[in-house]
Amino acid sequence: MSAPVITVENLGKRYLVGHQSAQRERYSTLRDVLMRNARDLWRKTADVFCGRQIIQGDEVEEFWALRDVSFEVRWGEVVGIIGRNGAGKTTLLKILSRITEPTVGRVTLWGRVASLLEVGTGFHPELTGRENIYLNGAILGMTRAEIRRKFDEIVAFAGVEKFLDTPVKRYSSGMYVRLAFAVAAHLEPEILVVDEVLAVGDAEFQKRCLGKMQDVAGHGRTVLVVSHNMALVRHICTRAIYLDLGRVVVDGTVEQALGEYLRMAEARNGLKSERRQGDGRLRFTDFWVENDRGERVGYVASGEPCVLVFSYRNFGCRAQDKVDVGFGLHLPSGERLLLLYASHMGQTLSVAREHGQFRCRLPGLPLPTGRYGIFPRIEINGVEADFPLDGVGWIDVEELDFYGTGRRMVDHSHGFAPYLIKGEWSEGTIAQPT
């Protein structure tokens, strides 16, 4: 029986969020606007003097990102933390790595913690690769002697020998990410806290990172890893904690936690309503999302390939009938963003079995984080066969490193847009045609 290395007791973290109150009418007179601004100014000034947080909007709501979280981790355990968006995983890691303090509860740590919430934290674009290795290493808590000792190893791991003295702003995004991860991978803390950093780089590099992580775990160190990658969790974790809405739902074996997580994801998904149109020769019975390797997933990363699976039951469709199936992808507001039918792709399907699946492989959803409703429809020989009016479920999309730059989230500071797109920028003029 080994001793605990992390003890978490009744941990909670509260944030205050502001809203604009609903009764604030859209059309208001100049006098109202002035009055409201004056009131806001007065309130904010009072807040500053009392040292309170300034909150935009006039309704303040408490939001518990974590609540009553207790668990224990022992030496050498590799614990996966899973859960959907907003379940409090990152908040938990931030508290454990002392970036933010909890509102209630207590954490006891017997060992040095290194946290890796992002690869390439503190990389400076103007500095060269060599300089950034030292900078990033120091930020992650390595001593200079330690970095010097591992320098060659880091460079070899990243494969950037030729560009060591080039400013990293000239690096390709792949090189940048590889270098950043290489530094992080050579950390040797007693407790390592990792947040979804394996979702970057190409497959080959990911494999090397995985090997490195297992190495760390194999040396009796303790690792806490947040991941949406079920295969990864299954592969390297000895235990998993499933968080939902800031609470621990399952704390047990990887299979227990993953099983419950998938069960919950599916329970929320699938057909609920019986409101449907169509003659019913074919009916949708279920819906889920798979990744490229055929594993069911609760999430899709923006831009990553995924497969939408619509299972159906055949009530009277014959093998010679021409089947067209399609789906619309909707915003929570109900607005349709995308529409894709098999016929758009020039395909015609046919159905002969009683039970089966329509599978639609998407090269990638260029969408920001969110939950998108899926509304499928079947036509047989041009006649509507099934159309569940309330949809069949949804896809949760999460912006993991969409642009391949090593940053986990998409930067929305310039404004929000419903689609993500990749492109390359350059500066210069094109010679005018004469």
Binding site: Q53, I95, L135, G220, R239
Partner: protein, 304 residues
């Protein structure tokens, strides 16, 4: 937890087989994270992170003049041109006296030296947390390192300016007295004078971005209020000791007087009561800055 025993069986071998230097080793005093808990070994932690301090300071220095044409010459040009203008305006146009036989440009430059250091350090320190927001929200380290490291940038500019002053003193054939040996103490005093308010404002800046607009204004204003372009003796003669005491509440009055005394010798005597007041205010701001910074530090990541 019913799965507990099962897990134990699985991980037990992993722990026992991991011998050597990477094994847990002797148990240390645990680190406890609790709301409102101030860390006992904060200052020791600060010492442990000294390499990060060096690296951040070095980073700020090496990117400071990247992609500029004349580079480090900016550090020479700015104080020099200001000195020329102040000499013309205060020395020639307003015809203010310089004590003893001190050439007016030297008087101005000896005041300019600590002022530039103060102004650069204060403005860099107060923006430091915001400009390092990505670090604050992703990694733990004693946050005090960030504003402290930026002061080093000011220090390097200061050393360059000091070299100009030395050249000017050669030009005017003006030899400093033994007081120059005390210069390091006054440099330290300037450092503390800028760090105190810098810490306070940078901490407030995280929560209330209003303060980023306060600093440029304060610095512009302070340049004329502090005795940079003129000798503080002028102020004392005009307003008497009582009001000069009030004037000395500006910590830069004591600092600039001290610098002039060190560099220009006996003619620029320090009026000790006023100097003591300046030191008192500096100490107060340093205490306040550190206290407020420590208090707000724990919530930086939530607000930045």
């Amino acid at each position: 937890m019913n799965g507990d025993s099962l897990i134990q069986d699985r991980i037990a071998p992993a722990v026992t087989t991991s011998g050597g230097p990477s094994s847990p080793g002797p148990r240390r005093a645990p680190l406890i994270i609790e709301p409102g808990r101030t860390e006992k070994n904060y200052w020791r932690d600060l010492w442990r992170y000294r390499e990060l301090f060096q690296v951040l300071a070095w980073r700020d220095l090496s990117v400071r003049y990247k992609q500029t044409v004349i580079g480090i010459a900016w550090a020479v040009l700015r104080p020099f041109l200001t000195m020329v203008i102040f000499t013309v305006i205060f020395g020639k146009v307003a015809n203010l006296p310089a004590p003893g036989n001190v050439p007016y440009p030297l008087l101005v430059f000896a005041g300019m030296l600590p002022w530039q250091f103060f102004a650069t350090s204060l403005s860099e320190a107060s923006n430091s947390l915001i400009s390092n927001a990505n670090l604050i929200s992703k990694v733990y380290f004693p946050r005090l390192i960030v504003p402290a490291a930026t002061v080093v940038v000011g220090l390097v500019d200061f050393l360059i300016s000091a070299a100009i002053l030395a050249a000017m003193m050669l030009w005017y054939q003006f030899a400093p007295g033994w007081g120059v040996l005390l210069l390091p103490c006054f440099i330290l005093l300037t450092f503390f004078a800028s760090l105190g308010p810098g810490l306070w404002i940078t901490a407030l800046n995280v929560k209330y971005r209003d303060f980023r607009y306060v600093i440029p204004f304060l610095i512009q204003f302070g340049l004329y209020v502090s005795p940079v372009g003129f000798s503080s003796a002028v102020v004392r003669e005009k307003f008497g000791d009582g009001l000069f005491m009030l004037y000395s509440l500006n910590p830069m009055v004591g600092v600039i007087d001290g610098f002039r005394w060190c560099l220009l010798g006996g003619e620029c005597a320090i009026w000790w009561p006023g100097f003591a007041a300046s030191i008192g205010v500096t100490a107060f701001f340093l205490w306040l800055g550190i206290r407020q910074f420590r208090k707000l530090e724990r919530t930086f990541a939530d607000f930045i």
